[in-house]
Every structure is written in structure tokens, then in C-alpha cells.
């Protein structure tokens, strides 16, 4: 993609984001029981979707890396785990903010909350692993393995989180199917916006990481030449 096209896509995403904010705050009706706090739901769910997309991408690029041994896939893997971790953090923060007024507690050991927290731990450890391996190809293999194992763990984490505590808190299904049509539209708009944002972030992050790698290699060669 040329720089110009890049810019256009960024502008489109920004406009779309503005319209998403508009639909959330103006177009969507205020929920009767929960009040305006329920509006956090649209971005909360969208962040969750994007986080899941990222981890899935990390899993796929991990598999592709181990098959093809092409460092390109390692870069895609890191970029997507980074983005996924950011959005998981957002899911947790928005969830906590939402839970306080609605459930009257910051945190409950609900399966979904527990699952996202454990996911956050798994993918945060990805960066600890990354920072402790120097050699590029070795680091790529190790990280690919962790991305694969971590993703396979996700369904089991969710299954076991149901067991976490015997006293199940009242699980509030905020996004139950009987949502107002305007709410569904709003949700779809924010889902679409977040997905575009995700694709954009992934593309740009992959590009910067590739360039950073290239610069590093050039520096190394330059050092070798001079010394």
C-alpha cells in the first residue's frame, strides 16, 4: 500500500470511530435498568472480539512460522499479541468500570471475567519470554510455541473458570438477544469500527516491527564493517 492509501484508510477509520461514538451516545437508547453506564457495553464487547481476533491471528501465525520458518510470521505474531494484550486490558478495565455500578462490585469470579484475566496473564508472559531470548530465530520459535499452546488453552480456561467458585454471582447477560433494534445497530457499528481499527493497527504494527528489524540488521552490518 502506498502512503497516500494508508492515510486515506486512517482517515476513514477515524471518521468511522467518530460515528461509532455518536451512535453509542446519541443514537442508541439508554438502557432502562442500568442507565447510561450500559453504553460501555458496545466498546467492551468490541474490544473482546478484537482481542480474540488477535490471539487467533497469533495462533495462526505461530503455526505458519513453525511450518515455513519465515520471520515474517513472527513479526505478525508479536504485533497481534501486542494488540490483543492491549484490548484484553481494555476489556478488563471497561468490565471493572461497568461492574462497579451494576453488580455493586469491582470484580466477581464470573467465568468470563476469570477467563479474560487468565488470558491476560498468558499473553503477558509472552513478552517476558520474548525479552529473555536474544537470538532472533530462537525467540521466534519459542514465542510461536507459546502462542499456540496459549490459544489451545483458551477453551479449557473458560470451561474450568465455570468451576472457579461454587457461589456463582448473578451473571448479568447484558447483551441478551432481546436488545432494542437501535442497540443492535449500534453494536454492529462499533464491532465493525473496532475490527477495522484492529486490521489497521495490525498492518501498521507489523510494518514498523519489520522496519525496526531491518534497521537493526543494518546497524549490525555497519558495526561489523567499521570495527
Amino acid at each position: 500500500m502506498s502512503i497516500k492509501k494508508d492515510q486515506i484508510v486512517v482517515i476513514v477509520a477515524a471518521l468511522l470511530f467518530c460515528s461509532a461514538i455518536y451512535t453509542v451516545f446519541v443514537y442508541a437508547p439508554t438502557e432502562r435498568v442500568m442507565g447510561p453506564i450500559q453504553k460501555i457495553f458496545y466498546f467492551h464487547l468490541s474490544s473482546a472480539l478484537v482481542a480474540f481476533l488477535s490471539f487467533f491471528t497469533a495462533f495462526v501465525s505461530g503455526v505458519l512460522f513453525l511450518i515455513r520458518k519465515d520471520l515474517k510470521w513472527d513479526v505478525v505474531g508479536v504485533a497481534s499479541v501486542e494488540i490483543g494484550l492491549v484490548f484484553t486490558t481494555l476489556v478488563l478495565i471497561t468490565g471493572v468500570l461497568w461492574g462497579r455500578p451494576v453488580w455493586n462490585t469491582w470484580w466477581t469470579w464470573d467465568p468470563r471475567l476469570t477467563t479474560s484475566l487468565i488470558l491476560w496473564f498468558i499473553y503477558a508472559s509472552y513478552f517476558i519470554l520474548r525479552s529473555s531470548v536474544e537470538r532472533q530465530d530462537k525467540r521466534a520459535v519459542f514465542c510461536a510455541v507459546l502462542a499456540i499452546v496459549g490459544f489451545v488453552d483458551v477453551p479449557i480456561v473458560f470451561l474450568s473458570a465455570r468451576l472457579w467458585r461454587t457461589i456463582h454471582p448473578v451473571v448479568i447477560r447484558a447483551g441478551s438477544i432481546d436488545m432494542a433494534p437501535a442497540m443492535i445497530t449500534t453494536l454492529l457499528v462499533s464491532l465493525g469500527t473496532f475490527t477495522l481499527l484492529w486490521a489497521l493497527l495490525l498492518y501498521h504494527r507489523t510494518r514498523t516491527l519489520t522496519m525496526a528489524g531491518r534497521v537493526k540488521n543494518l546497524e549490525k552490518r555497519l558495526d561489523g564493517g567499521i570495527l
Partner: protein, 222 residues
């Protein structure tokens, strides 16, 4: 299958000559059982959930010492290169290391579980037969992930400090299921109530053993 037996024999032989892993595992597990006692109000009977939690924290935290050792010992004198050059397949190597880990954990548990009963009351004692099954199933899962990830951490600069950071997030589901099932056993529940979770534990072990077979080759060849 001979490669499998050779590595298994070699590791167990080394361990019996100088039982570093098992002794440190048992010692640390015992220590944890004592330290965790601080969390219990004085003079009160512990609930089955607390008991199960204490037992499994002691077992999982002590097992990390053994898991770390199995792969990092191959780094000394570059034994790993020798193993890779030998005509032992990666699958046999993984299976042998995993079995070694299961055996080491079992040996440690043979001391930790009785110590638990002594320290926290033998009212749980009647649940021993089912507890053995749970311990076996949990060990398979722990050993599968532990073997794969100790191979990874043995290849990093941070070495043994890194394994707990990678290992625990991945085994949290297994630990939580195990604790739950153990507390049900302590309560004297009938097997029908928790048998489905035993299958989940078995599935967990199978899935990660399979992944270990698939992925260990990539890890150790680096």
C-alpha cells in the same frame, strides 16, 4: 522404544544417585504446607475447599523445582547436543522426559500428601483412593506442559526463573479443576458428581501431551 528406556533409565539413575530434585521438591512442599497454615484461623477445622487448595498449592509450587531440573541438567556440558546427535527420536525424548517428570512428582507427592494428612487432620483420609487417581491425572497435565516449557526456559538467558511465569498461567485451569475435584472428594461426594471433571483433566493431559510431541522438536533443535 529403546531410546525412551535409555533416557528414562539415565535420568532416574542420576536422580537415585543424587536425589536433588525429589529432596528439594519434598522440602519445599513441606515448607509450603507449614507456611500456608498461616492463612487458617487458629484452632478451627479447615473446610474441604481450603484443604484442597493448600494441598495443591504445595504440590504445584514444589513440582516446579523438579520440572526446571529435567531440562536444565541437559544444558550442562552441552548434553543436549549429544542427545540430539544420538539416534533417539524427539518423540521418544519427550515421552521419556515427561515420564521422568511424572515419576519425580509422584515420589514427591508420596511424602507431601501424607504430611498434609498429618498436619491438616486425617478426616480427609478416607478419600485416599480417589485422591490417588486425581493426583495421577493432574500429574500428566502438569508434566506435559512442564516438560515442553522447561525445554523453552532452558534455552533462554533467564533460565529457571522464567518457568513459573510461563507455566502457571497455562496450568491455572488444570489447578482449578483439580482443587475443585479434590475438595469434592474430601467432602465425600460420589464419583458420579465429579466424573465429568476427571474426563476434562484426562483430556487436558492428552491435549498437551499431543502438543508437546508436536512442538518439542522445534524447541530443542534451536
Amino acid at each position: 522404544m529403546s531410546g525412551f528406556w535409555l533416557i528414562l533409565q539415565k535420568d532416574l539413575h542420576a536422580e537415585f544417585r543424587k536425589p536433588e530434585s525429589v529432596i528439594s521438591m519434598v522440602f519445599f512442599g513441606f515448607l509450603l504446607l507449614v507456611i500456608l497454615n498461616l492463612a487458617i484461623p487458629l484452632g478451627s477445622e479447615i473446610s474441604s475447599e481450603t484443604g484442597a487448595g493448600i494441598l495443591w498449592v504445595a504440590i504445584t509450587f514444589s513440582s516446579i523445582l523438579g520440572l526446571n531440573r529435567t531440562m536444565s541438567q541437559e544444558k550442562e556440558n552441552r548434553c543436549m547436543d549429544g542427545l540430539l546427535l544420538s539416534p533417539v527420536s524427539i518423540e521418544e525424548f519427550f515421552a521419556a522426559k515427561m515420564v521422568v517428570n511424572v515419576v519425580l512428582m509422584l515420589l514427591a507427592e508420596c511424602s507431601i500428601v501424607p504430611l498434609f494428612f498429618i498436619l491438616y487432620g486425617d478426616s480427609f483420609f478416607q478419600s485416599l483412593p480417589m485422591l490417588v487417581l486425581v493426583v495421577l491425572l493432574a500429574n500428566i497435565g502438569f508434566a506435559a506442559i512442564g516438560t515442553l516449557f522447561s525445554a523453552i526456559t532452558a534455552g533462554t538467558s533467564r533460565n529457571e526463573a522464567l518457568l513459573p511465569l510461563l507455566f502457571y498461567p497455562l496450568v491455572i485451569p488444570l489447578i482449578s479443576i483439580t482443587v475443585k475435584v479434590t475438595s469434592m472428594i474430601f467432602q465425600g461426594a460420589v464419583i458420579k458428581d465429579y466424573s465429568s471433571w476427571l474426563y476434562v483433566m484426562l483430556a487436558y493431559g492428552c491435549i498437551f501431551t499431543g502438543l508437546g510431541f508436536l512442538l518439542l522438536g522445534h524447541v530443542v533443535r534451536e
